[in-house]
Assembly symmetry: C2
């Protein structure tokens, strides 16, 4: 989605710059002027593509969703065809994310922290989390868990907790513990 247009270079440069800066410094911590300067784009061009900062923020979140969802699915797929194994394998995406430097936690949760409850940004975050939850619930159902929604919910807690904790201390034990706990919960729920 959102790639139906020819994707001109200016828009793409803006988005790539915003992606890096928003994630690294927070949304309110990065001004339009800085994005314009670092993406080498004229102000008028910027405002042609994104009429307001909020529009850029939403496009940023769409890209984050794309990237993170992709990593989650890839990690799950790498675990083989067994849905139960995939549920656990998805946690490798968490480990990989935390290991990257400049890692600063879940971009959605960070964005939601900066925006009021009814805002578009907040709603987008909610939609993203809901999407991950229902994907996990689908896998849990395929795996034959007796309470797929409950298992999926619990796994999202571990995932979100790992995303948050992994951003704080440098030690890599948060993703390891998350994966181990996920494995225990999945095998308990399936058999």
């Amino acid at each position: 989605m959102a790639t139906s247009s020819p994707a001109p270079p200016a828009r793409e440069r803006i988005l790539a710059t915003a992606f890096a800066l928003f994630y690294a410094h927070g949304i309110r911590g990065v001004g339009i002027d800085r994005i314009i300067a670092e993406s080498g784009v004229a102000k008028a061009t910027f405002y042609k593509h994104f009429p307001a900062k909020d529009d850029l923020v939403l496009a940023y979140l769409d890209r984050v969703d794309e990237v993170w969802t992709g990593q989650l699915h890839d990690a799950a797929a790498a675990a083989g065809p067994d849905p139960a194994a995939q549920l656990v394998g998805a946690f490798d995406a968490l480990g990989n994310a935390c290991r990257r430097d400049g890692y600063r936690g879940c971009a959605f949760i960070n964005a939601a922290a900066e925006n009021p409850a009814g805002s578009r940004v907040h709603d987008r975050t909610l939609a993203h989390k809901e999407e991950v939850l229902s994907w996990l619930a689908g896998l849990a159902r395929q795996a034959g868990a007796e309470d797929p929604e409950g298992l999926a919910r619990t796994l999202t807690l571990l995932l979100d907790g790992g995303l948050a904790s992994g951003a704080l201390d440098a030690r890599p034990d948060a993703p390891v513990a998350a994966r181990a706990a996920a494995a225990a919960l999945v095998s308990a729920a399936v058999d």
Copy 2:
């Protein structure tokens, strides 16, 4: 702590106002002027008590730590004398927190999302999380878990995940799932 001074009314009013506003709108979302206006304090008075906004932010986080740690300990204590039961009981604090309206997730994680990695705010967040972690590890040790640090780490993941998820959707199933998962993990680790 931090109550050794006579605690004059102006400082307390500022702090109480900051507590509400920072949590509700984010730190960068609230200007000094607004805090001054809503706490009914003169600007000079404000800057006498808090030489810079950052100082107020740290005082705010200290208060958050006080309140949240207190709720956690109270919830654990309410579960009775058994340390294993206390580990699970602590999750009632999560449920209570999520139920309050205006709930917007963990104030520390939100604050860290708005501040760069080396900042004082970030460090304070790290210290708080470390404190909770070691408290849980102590309980886990008393409960006779074979890997108290690992269990404690996993429980913090559920706690942080619950704090984050509970802020997004209104449905109360996140804290319920967190508590249930905690109970399962604790009883598996203890016996």
